[in-house]
Amino acid sequence: MADDYADIPTLKENIDRATVDSVRSLDVDKYKYGFETDIESDMAPKGLSEDTVRFISKKKNEPQWMLDWRLEAYRRFLTMTEPTWAKVHYPQIDLQDMYYYAAPKSSPAPKSLDEVDPALIAMYDKLGVPLKEREILAGVERPKVAVDAVMDSVSVVTTFREELSKVGIIFCSISEAIREYPELVQKYLASVVPVSDNYYATLNSAVFTDGSFVYIPKGVRCPMELSTYFRINEKKTGQFERTLIIAEADSYVSYLEGCTAPMRDEAQLHAAVVELVALDNAEIKYSTVQNWYPGDKDGKGGIYNFVTKRGDCRGANSKISWTQVETGSAITWKYPSCILRGDGSRGEFYSIAISNGYQQVDSGTKMLHLGKNTSSRIIAKGIAAGFSDNTYRGQVSAHAKAKNARNFTQCDSLLIGDKCGAHTVPYIESRNGTAVFEHEATTSKISDDQMFYCQQRGLSEEDAVALIVNGFVRDVLQHLPMEFMVETQKLIAISLEGSVG
């Protein structure tokens, strides 16, 4: 078993040349996605009410069953209270002082890319998200990535749909899926995250506006990466995305998620629900680079990111792997989890969470072992700088029937500066005598010796920190798809700017 974990990194490991270069070539702007795009929007009336729910459902041309489902969720929501167990502090969110629906007016339902507002394409270009289905740019072949672009409350466009449909894969917005594939949606929606799972998930169920729907048929290996790019553009607008991914038996899919928002003084709410279902021998790999606007240096503004992500390894020998890079948001409240139901199923969670300024992160995972011979692995790396608080919160439990359950957890925290906090709160629950759990956590700062060594070789203090941090998170980085890896290394450096000196 020891061999399995031989790649647990130590700070002292070598950091490759590419990292050094990428760190050096950084842009100087701290949050380069903070621009606003001037696009006229169609908005719902302000505030949360049954009428808001009806408005959203109507805008989406939803069938009656979906409206009923939303209204039921809304009624449940009215009886619930906000959870208080997380180590995050924020003023009461006024749910009546925000908009629940905002859509670009220009192209409500574009049929193809040509019909999409050029301003939108330009915006995504600026964000580095390719919406054009061109693979060969300047003679360089890049791997194909199909994108579902969601702005505020609607999916703007989904690329490569035709190519994917040839092998039976459905990749579209959830709004479209509700209309076109009601039987699939009805079968799986809320089957992983029940409507009344928690306060934010229930709110999401009532007012979710868009998100992605993925269906991989039996035996199909998805030929390209699928991705959704979320963008909040409008002021005072909450984003409530809903994503549902179903991998039928013997299938495989890798899915990426990215997100950004403009810089604004007031906080904005993002409450998403993501559900994954993996059937027999299926594998879902879900990667996130979360870069919502974190607020300014005094802690003003930023996104409140309250997210429920959960995967259900429903089939035997299925596998769900979560990889997340959390650098943005004023508050992150997020626990991508795995229900290891199928015998022999496996869950993985790889996380990098960076907090700086006045950011607050309370994130981690749950690995719930229900089936026999299930295994899970958690590698979480937290980096706290500035005045931030960074908490890992995780649960590993073996049910009485989870014979031979195995878990390995490694949580490491790095503190940069003496005004921040790093916290680790694991819940380790073994209810089966044959289960074997191993958990280890460490907290430390960057060693003076390492800093001195890097600086002696000519790196500035800031570059040295970025370099060492990239080494610290290396073991998680390597689980990201290639395109995300380089991006992430840059992002880490940007996120930590101003953290030393």
Partner: protein, 403 residues
């Protein structure tokens, strides 16, 4: 935070409220009335839901007429006894030990129901001042005698600068459904060295609660070992505070749980100043449908630089139905620290079993040997041989006692 739901109170809470009012502790009574006993939603009671586990509270203890045989005798020890909360007359104290009494409880107020209850019900507390190093083991024998009783008692110990002592506390009594709420406060002066051992040997029908608060001064060294080997429900709360540079704590605990038992160690440690260290180590062994809980929090205060603290929690499952629940926790506000925790849980190592049996040692004997080896790390550092032997006796008694 919106907390509007009124709490429904059970029989245990009703009794507690009446008892609190009878002793004039109206504030604590009000607290119970509003919040009830803690449920799993209260983080520090996440795995020990008192509302569910504590269904009845026996009447407040009356002075005991007779005492049962001592549960543990350590040759050469200086013994003091508190029976049903009443401090008993003692023999002449060894030189340097000043025995006294004080009114009320001993614990610093904190947001914890057991601490509140102890403060409300403790009429008097035993105080010990240790002026210099004390050779004999000081044993405080706490008893719950007669019919089932709600017993509250408390002890406060001051250990002078440079002094050293071994303090043993044992908890036992008549075979009845007692609820014991015990408090201990130990302050270690500069450079003091203290070994504090608590052993619960209460009857299975009883519930045993202990809260131990430690103030560890500059350069002082504290070693503790708490053993749960008696009550059906037991919880020992450990509140060490490291308050001077060079303060060090080895806070250790051993949960021995059999079918139907529930034992809980909850530590909330504060490294309050720079340059303090601790190495908490908890071990749990569960068999039958026994349940063992370890919650261990290390808090490093802002500016408490150079803290070096690592907590370890190890669980050993001797049956398929046993439960071991562990919540180690780090809360760190200073950056120049080396802190960590580890938690492992599993059954006896198969490779070790094979090695031992391949040498001709029968399976049961090999198991006992490995279990003893698992525990040895806790007893080994205790230098007083008679005391170590007595503790081995308790552990072996549990191991060979079956079920």
């Amino acid at each position: 935070m919106r907390q509007t739901m009124p709490v429904r109170l059970g029989a245990a809470e009703d009794t507690l409220i009446a008892q609190l009012k009878s002793v004039g502790a109206d504030a604590t009574a009000e607290r119970i009335t509003v919040a009830g006993l803690p449920t799993r939603r209260v983080e520090s009671y996440h795995y020990t839901d008192l509302k569910t586990l504590l269904r009845t509270i026996p009447p407040l203890a009356q002075a005991a007429n007779e005492a049962s045989a001592p549960a543990l005798r350590v040759p050469g020890a200086y013994q003091l006894m508190i029976a049903n909360g009443v401090i008993q007359a003692a023999s002449t104290a060894p030189a340097g030990v000043i025995v006294g009494k004080a009114h009320g409880g001993v614990l610093t107020t904190r947001d914890d129901v057991l601490v509140h209850l102890n403060g409300a019900f403790a009429k008097e507390s035993l105080t010990l001042t240790l002026e210099n190093s004390i050779d004999p083991v000081i044993q405080i024998d706490r008893r719950s005698e007669g019919e089932a009783a709600h017993v509250t008692d408390s002890l406060k110990v001051f250990v002078a600068d440079g002094a050293s002592a071994v303090i043993l506390e044992t908890f036992s009594g008549s075979d009845a459904a007692h609820v014991g709420n015990h408090a201990t406060y130990i302050a270690l002066g500069k450079g003091a060295t203290v070994t504090h051992i608590t052993v619960d040997l209460s009857p299975r029908a009883a519930a045993h609660f202990a809260s131990n608060e430690y103030h560890v001064g500059e350069g002082a060294k504290l070693r503790t070992l708490a053993i749960h080997a008696g009550a059906g429900l037991s919880r020992t709360q450990l509140f060490p505070r490291y308050e001077g540079a060079g303060a060090h704590g080895d806070i250790t605990g051993l949960n021995l749980v059999s079918d139907g038992q529930h034992a809980d160690f909850t530590m909330d440690a504060l490294h309050a100043v720079p340059q303090t260290t601790s190495q908490p180590l908890f071990k749990s062994i569960a068999r039958g449908r026994g349940k063992a809980v370890v919650q261990g929090k290390l808090v490093v205060a802002r500016d408490a630089q150079k803290t070096d603290a690592k907590l370890m929690s190890q669980g050993l499952m001797l049956s398929d139905e046993a439960e071991i629940l562990s919540k180690p926790e780090l809360e760190i506000y200073a950056d120049d620290v080396v802190c960590g925790h580890g938690s492992t849980c599993g059954k006896l190592d198969e490779e070790s079993m094979f090695y031992l049996t391949s040498r001709g040692i029968p399976k049961e004997e090999a198991e006992t040997m490995l279990v003893r080896g698992f525990i040895e790390e806790l007893v080994d550092p205790i230098e007083d041989e008679a005391l170590a032997e007595a503790l081995h006796g308790i552990i072996d008694g549990w191991l060979l006692g079956g079920k």
